[in-house]
């Protein structure tokens, strides 16, 4: 079994598996910087959603 499959076998949660697959594929392509890019993309997406909701709320409250 390859490294990726061995690690995947130990992960239970589907979201964790999906994220790890993205991390591993990015690692094969760009090494550590690739992993950093994938993780930062996840973080930025959450932050972006947060900011969008925050703006909606601010608009509702009249700025």
């Amino acid at each position: 079994m390859e490294t990726k499959e061995k690690i995947l076998a130990n992960l239970k949660d589907e979201h964790e598996k999906k994220l790890f697959e993205e991390i591993y594929n990015a690692f094969l392509q760009d090494g550590g910087e690739g992993i950093k890019r994938v993780v930062n993309k996840e973080i930025e997406q959450i932050k972006k959603d947060f900011e969008k909701i925050k703006k909606q709320l601010e608009n509702q409250m009249g700025g």
Binding site: E16, F27, I35, K36, N40, M61
Partner: protein, 711 residues
């Protein structure tokens, strides 16, 4: 898969094209450090694996920022000839950039495969053997042994990880660590937002109280006011303004006429603008403006008239006073001419006296001379006088010298008189000019005003203009009362707008305050909290992934160690003999500091052996691990590469190493690179298989290495 040949151009230490036959069972590369031996070995792995052999991900620190292409070469091409199942293939890799290469495979029948097809064929030839596998079971890199010799547990563990092909796990963990996640960041932002909302509620509360207080003081009831109440008030104000605009006889604007009183804020904004427009467009106000402009014009004309009149009178008065005091300009000019004539007369008189005095002087000089014997006899008339010289000198002094002095004083006085008169003439001329100019301006203004206001020569301009000004004042006063009454009505309507505005503002503020108080119950707020939790969860997920990577790495390491444990011990004993180590045990556990794998080498009494091993024995330990993996791995390559394997080994250990290599050479071809003369000699003698030796020397950047082939 057998290696047959390699052709290198512009790769690493090779500038010019060089070709090496690698088909012999044993190929030895011998030469000093930096002569290009490792470049040849690197060229083999680059041709198979391309730019995967560069960078941090390889687990070799030296490979970070590694330059593939030789700086002095215009191209970089490596061709490796291999034999697989009786077929010959030429693999050709060309460097394009750090991230791009060109790869092709040429079969012995001349068929050329390129791009994806070439890579697919290569994978089939490699039987999906990876670069990681190649590094751990085919190519013994000199850096691994160097790391083993450092005695630093972290570096040694990293080196063994590499030997076992487990660098990937370590690199994944490091990559995840690179992304610095702050799990509480959004939670903190949410708390900060809650504080801001609280502060806003407080601010609005203060504004509400201030407004309520203001409305109470004005006697306005605000407790039961609602949006519909505000709309009704707006409709009433609109009606009132329409009625009043009819009184004023002014049409209301389309914008105001069409605005609905349901949108209170818009209605108030436009209504107030409409009032401002009505204030300025009332007919009486326009008339007021016209009268005001006329009055301003008359006041300006009157002011100009009085100023010029006064200037004219003042300059005339000053000129008159001058004439009375110093005489007219003509008189002053006559006076100047008379003084001039007097000076000429005095000058003639002085000339005459001066000529007579000269004769007497000459006579005196003659009498005083030695030629005259009778000093009392007059040389002019011949009469005799006692002390004639004395008398003549006294007369000369009294009559001529004093007379001349008197005349000079008189001339000087007359000249002073002329200068003073000239000054007075200048002053008189200036006063005259000023007076003439003032009179001209005044006359011009009078003519203009008479024409403008239709006045005759007999009319007094000042009086007429004053009368007109008084008339305008009277008209303005009459208009003022009517305008004030209408403006007061508009102000009354405007105040109603302001009151509605305040009531509407009060409702708005109360609504905002209530919304803010209830914000934590809204879906948006719950979604924000969910996102903050999501970030925390992402951190937990990443931590779990790291934990599982570590766990898998440890399990993998354990399995690999189990599979080579006996072989490592055997190889180690073949390479070195240590009286305290009869059996070598290898254990894997978690490194508490790094979370990575920690390898312990123990003797049969479970005592750690690395602290008592020499550098040579540590080298032997690394070689034992590599050889054990190389021997047990299922590899498509039927050769092994050794790069500087004898670091820190003693002569006896080197001989044991060559004996071990001789045994391995029975099963696999070997490529051995060394700078060690003892190992080279030992290998030449003790390895029995056919050998090709390449001696490397005199490397320089312009040509690369000089290579001599033997055997």
């Amino acid at each position: 898969m057998q290696l047959k040949n390699i052709e290198i151009t512009g790769f690493r230490g090779f500038k010019e094209k060089k070709e090496f036959n690698l088909s012999a069972p044993v190929v030895i590369l011998f030469g000093e450090n930096g002569s290009g031996k490792s470049s040849l070995l690197n060229a083999i792995e680059w041709c198979f694996f391309g730019n995967k052999i560069i960078g941090k991900e390889t687990g070799i620190r030296e490979r970070i920022d590694w330059e593939v292409k030789n700086r002095n070469s215009s191209e970089c091409i490596v061709k490796v000839e291999i034999e697989e199942n009786g077929e010959n293939y030429t693999l050709e890799r060309t460097w394009v950039s750090k991230t791009k290469e060109k790869f092709s495979i040429i079969s012995s029948d001349g068929n050329v495969l390129e791009y994806d097809e070439a890579n697919k064929k290569l994978n089939a030839l490699l039987k999906y053997f990876t670069f990681k596998d190649f590094m751990s079971s085919v190519y013994q890199h000199q850096e691994v042994i160097r790391f083993m010799l450092t005695q630093e547990p972290k570096d040694r563990n990293e080196a063994i990880d590499r030997l076992l092909g487990l660098s990937e796990y370590r690199n994944i963990i490091e990559g995840i660590d690179l992304a610095k996640i702050k799990p509480d960041e959004l939670e903190q932002e949410l708390n900060s937002l809650a504080q801001q909302i609280k502060a806003k509620v407080q601010f609005w509360q203060e504004q509400i109280l201030a407004l309520e207080n203001e409305l109470s003081q004005k006697g306005i009831s605000y407790e039961k006011i609602s949006d519909s109440g505000i709309n009704r008030m707006c409709a009433e104000i609109k009606k009132e303004l329409i009625n009043f605009s009819n009184v004023l006889n002014i049409n209301l604007s389309d914008v105001f006429s069409n605005i609905s009183s349901d949108d209170a804020n818009k209605f108030i904004e436009i209504g107030k603008k409409e009032i401002t427009r009505l204030r300025s467009e009332m007919p009486d106000v326009k008339k007021q403006k016209q009268l005001y402009e006329e009055r301003m014009e008359i006041e300006k004309n009157l002011s100009d008239y009085h100023i010029l009149k006064s200037d004219c009178e003042e300059s005339r008065k000053r000129f008159k006073e001058f004439v009375e005091k110093y005489g007219s300009l003509e008189q002053l000019k006559n006076k100047k001419e008379e003084a001039g004539r007097n000076i000429e007369s005095k000058k003639q008189e002085r000339k005459n006296i001066s000529q007579l005095g000269s004769i007497i002087r000459d006579a005196l000089d003659y009498l005083k001379s030695e030629v005259v014997t009778d000093k009392n006899k007059c040389p002019v008339c011949g009469s005799k006088t006692d002390n004639l010289v004395g008398h003549l000198e006294k007369e000369y002094s009294e009559r001529f010298e004093e007379g001349l002095k008197k005349l000079d004083d008189e001339i000087k006085n007359l000249q002073e008189q002329i200068k003073d008169t000239e000054k007075l003439i200048d002053e008189a001329e200036t006063l005259k000019k000023t007076y003439d100019a003032a009179e001209k301006s005044f006359n011009k203004l009078q003519a203009t005003l008479r024409k403008k206001f239709n006045l005759t020569e007999r009319d007094d301009i000042g009086d007429c203009l004053k009368a007109k000004e008084d008339e305008i004042n009277r008209l303005e006063e009459e208009l003022k009362k009517g305008v004030e009454k209408k403006q007061a009505h508009l102000t009354e309507i405007e105040n109603k707008f302001t009151m509605v505005e305040k009531l509407s503002g009060l409702i708005g503020l109360k609504k905002k305050r209530e919304d803010a108080r209830e914000v934590e119950k809204t879906n948006e707020w719950l979604n924000l909290r969910h996102k903050a939790e999501e970030l925390k969860k992402l951190k937990d997920i990443l931590q779990n992934i790291v934990a599982q990577v570590k766990k898998t790495s440890q399990k993998d390491a354990q399995d690999k160690i189990d599979s080579i444990r006996v072989k490592v011990s055997e190889n180690f004993k073949s390479l070195t003999q240590h009286p305290q180590i009869t059996e070598l045990q290898i254990e894997v556990e978690e490194d508490k500091r790094t979370g990575g794998n920690n390898y312990s080498f123990k003797d049969n009494q479970s005592k750690y052996v690395t602290p008592i091993l020499s550098q040579g024995q540590l080298n032997s330990l690394a070689l034992s691990v590599f050889l054990s993996i190389a021997e047990t791995a299922i590899s498509p390559f039927s050769f092994l590469i050794f790069d500087d394997p004898s670091q820190s080994l003693g002569k006896e250990e080197k001989e044991k190493l060559t004996d071990l290599l001789n045994t391995i050479a029975e099963k696999k071809n070997l490529i051995i690179s060394t700078m060690d003369g003892e190992l080279f000699e030992s290998a030449e003698k003790r390895i029995k298989k056919q050998k090709t030796i390449y001696e490397f020397k005199s490397w320089n950047p312009h040509h690369g290495p000089e290579v001599i082939k033997r055997g």
